[in-house]
Amino acid sequence: MDELRKRAKELLESKTISVVIGYEEGTYNRTRALFVEKPEEASKLIFDSRCVLNLATYITKQEVKAKGKMAIAATIPVMRSIIQLAYEFQVSDKNLLVLGITPESNLMEFKDLLEVETYIHKFEIEINASYREKLDKLAGMTQTERWKFWIDELSPCFKCYACRAACPMCYCHRCTVDFNQPQWIPVPSHELGNLEWHIMRAVHLMGRCIDCDGCANACPLGIPINLLNKRLLEDAKRHFGGYQPVLKGDHLMSTFKPDDKENFIR
C-alpha cells in the first residue's frame, strides 16, 4: 500500500486534509484503526486481508470529526456505509475525502461522494455461501425451533453494546435503549431485555445495514446477531427489488406516500 501512504502524506503536507483514517499493525497479529495527523506518520499505514474493521464508525465520532477534514481508507463496505451516512446527513464532501481501496487492493481516489456512489453500485451486496446456509437452516426451522435458537443465542448477551459501538449506522447520541422516560427496552440483560434489544437493533438497521458484519465481529461472546440483519436485507431485496445505499432518493424504511397502494400503511 505504498500508494496509500504516499497519497496520505501528500494530503497532510498540503494541509488539504487534517487526519487520514486507515489501518495500522495492531497487537497479536490484529490490525486496528490509525489516525494519521503528521505526514511522517503516514508510513505506519497498512492494508491487507486482516483489515475488516469498518472504519466508517469513526467518521461520526466527535473526537475524530473535531480534527477537521478527514480522509478515509475505504474498502467497499466502508464506502457503502459512507454513502448511507451521507444520505442521513452525517457526512458530506465538505468534511470527507474517500481514498477507496478496490477489491484488488488498489488505491482509487474519488473526487466526491457522487463518484463513490456510482462506483459501489457496480457491486451487489451479496450474502456469502456460509451465511446463506445458516439463513436457510433458520428459515427451515419451525417457529418453536427458531424461537429456541434465538433465545439460546441471545441469552448470554451481557449488553456491552459493542455491536452498537462498532456499527457505523449506530451513531445516535441517545439510543432507544438508553431512554428511560418511557423505558422502551428493559435495561437488565435477562431473556426479555436481550431479545427486545436485539430485535430493536436489527429493525432500526433495516434498509440501512450494508452487511459489513462489524456487529458480529465486535461481539466478545460470538453471538451471530448479523443473521438478523442479513435476513432483513434479504426481505428488503425480495420485496423491494434489491438494496444499495444512495445519496438521494426514496428510502426503503422512511418513505411514505399518501397514495400508497397498500392499505395497511394509510
Binding site: Y28, A33, K61, K159, A162, P220
Partner: protein
C-alpha cells in the same frame, strides 16, 4: 499456616466432581460453545473444557451476576411492601476450573463490595462459594499476571488449587482454606498424602512487563496527560472490557414495574459507555472517550490502591482479548510507564 499438599490421580478428578455433585452443590465450570469458553452450571464432567488458557468472561458472575434482583415490591392503596432479597436462598456453589487471576480478583471485588457499606448479597454469595482453582500451564501474549502481583500458580483466592504435574496427568492439590479442608473431608480417598512437590516447573511462563508501583506513582501527575487522548482515539466506547473483567464492579439500579408490583434489579454498568456519567441536566463530566478511558486506568491503578489498598487488575488479559478495536491494556500500561512527563 503451612499448606496441606495432596496428590489427586489423573482419573480421580472426575470422581471428585461426581462427589461434589452428589453433595447438592451447584457447580459452575468452563464450557465451550461457538469457540468461546465460559462458566456455566455444569452437570457432567465430560462437558467441562479442559484445554483453555482463559475463559471469555471471568468467574465474577457467580458472585456478582450481570442482572440480579435485590428486592421485590408491591404497592397497595396506602403502603408499599418491599421484600428484600432473601440471602438464605443463595445456593452452595462450587466454582470449578478458576484461573489464579480470577481467584485473586475475588479479593479485589470483596474490597469494593465492603468499602463502606457491606454488600450483604455479594458477601453471602461469596461465603457460599468454594473456589477450585487450576494453575496455568500455558499462557498467551495477553496474560500479564506477574506484572500485577500474581503468578500462574498463585494460591490467593482459591480454596483448593490444582496444578497438573506434567505428562503424568496427576494433580497436585494445595488445600488453602477451611472451605478447601471441607472438600477434602468429603472426598478423603481422592486426596492422597504426598511428599513435598515442586509445582513451579509445571507452570506457564509469564514474563514481567511493567512495574505497577511505578505506574501508580506516575499516575498521580498524569491526569492531564495528552497520552489519554492518544490512546483512546480508536476506542469506540462499548462496555466489553468492563464486562469481561474479573474486578470491575460498577452497577446500575433499575426498577422493573408491572402494574402494582415490581422488582429492583442491579445490572452491570461500564465507565466506557458515555451515558455512565450523564447527568439529568444533560451535562456529562466525562464528555469524551479519553476521559472515560482515563477513568478506567486511574480507577484500577491509582484510586483502588489508594482507597482500598488493592489494585483493580489481575492481569488476566480478557479486556485486550475482548476489545473489538484492539485497545490493549498491556500496551497502554507499558507506554504510561515509558512516557516522560
Amino acid at each position: 499456616m503451612t499448606i496441606d499438599k495432596r496428590i489427586v490421580r489423573k482419573e480421580a478428578l472426575e470422581k471428585l466432581f461426581e462427589i461434589l455433585k452428589q453433595n447438592n452443590r451447584t457447580i459452575f465450570a468452563p464450557v465451550s460453545k461457538n469457540g468461546k469458553t465460559s462458566f456455566k452450571i455444569t452437570e457432567s464432567y465430560s462437558s467441562i473444557e479442559k484445554d483453555f488458557i482463559q475463559t471469555t468472561q471471568s468467574s465474577k458472575e457467580s458472585v456478582f451476576p450481570r442482572t440480579e434482583k435485590i428486592l421485590d415490591f408491591t404497592k397497595s392503596k396506602n403502603s408499599l411492601d418491599a421484600k428484600p432479597f432473601d440471602i438464605l436462598q443463595v445456593p452452595e456453589v462450587i466454582l470449578w476450573g478458576v484461573r489464579p487471576c480470577d481467584a485473586m480478583g475475588m479479593g479485589e471485588l470483596s474490597a469494593i463490595f465492603n468499602w463502606d457499606s457491606k454488600d450483604e448479597i455479594y458477601n453471602s454469595r461469596l461465603s457460599k462459594t468454594t473456589i477450585i482453582g487450576f494453575s496455568c500451564f500455558k499462557a498467551d501474549e495477553s496474560c500479564f499476571c506477574t506484572s500485577v502481583g500474581g503468578n500462574p500458580g498463585n494460591i490467593e483466592g482459591s480454596d483448593i488449587l490444582f496444578t497438573r504435574l506434567g505428562e503424568s496427568g496427576d494433580w497436585l492439590a494445595e488445600i488453602i482454606t477451611e472451605k478447601g479442608v471441607a472438600i477434602v473431608a468429603i472426598a478423603q480417598d481422592i486426596f492422597q498424602k504426598t511428599e513435598n512437590q515442586d509445582k513451579n516447573k509445571y507452570l506457564a511462563e509469564v514474563p514481567v512487563k511493567f512495574d505497577r508501583e511505578t505506574i501508580r506513582k506516575k499516575l498521580d501527575a498524569f491526569f492531564e496527560s495528552e497520552e489519554w487522548v492518544e490512546q483512546s482515539l480508536k476506542c469506540i466506547g462499548c462496555g466489553a472490557c468492563a464486562y469481561v473483567c474479573p474486578t470491575c464492579a460498577c452497577f446500575d439500579i433499575q426498577d422493573e414495574i408491572h402494574g402494582k408490583s415490581g422488582s429492583r434489579v442491579r445490572c452491570w454498568d461500564s465507565c466506557g459507555i458515555s451515558q455512565f456519567t450523564l447527568h439529568t441536566s444533560g451535562h456529562n463530566p466525562r464528555a469524551v472517550q479519553s476521559q472515560r478511558w482515563r477513568q478506567r486506568i486511574m480507577h484500577k491503578f491509582s484510586y483502588m490502591p489508594e482507597r482500598l489498598s488493592v489494585y483493580g487488575c489481575t492481569g488476566c488479559g480478557r479486556c485486550s482479548r475482548a476489545c473489538p478495536v484492539d485497545m490493549n491494556i498491556l500496551e497502554h500500561l507499558i507506554s504510561i510507564q515509558e512516557v516522560t512527563l
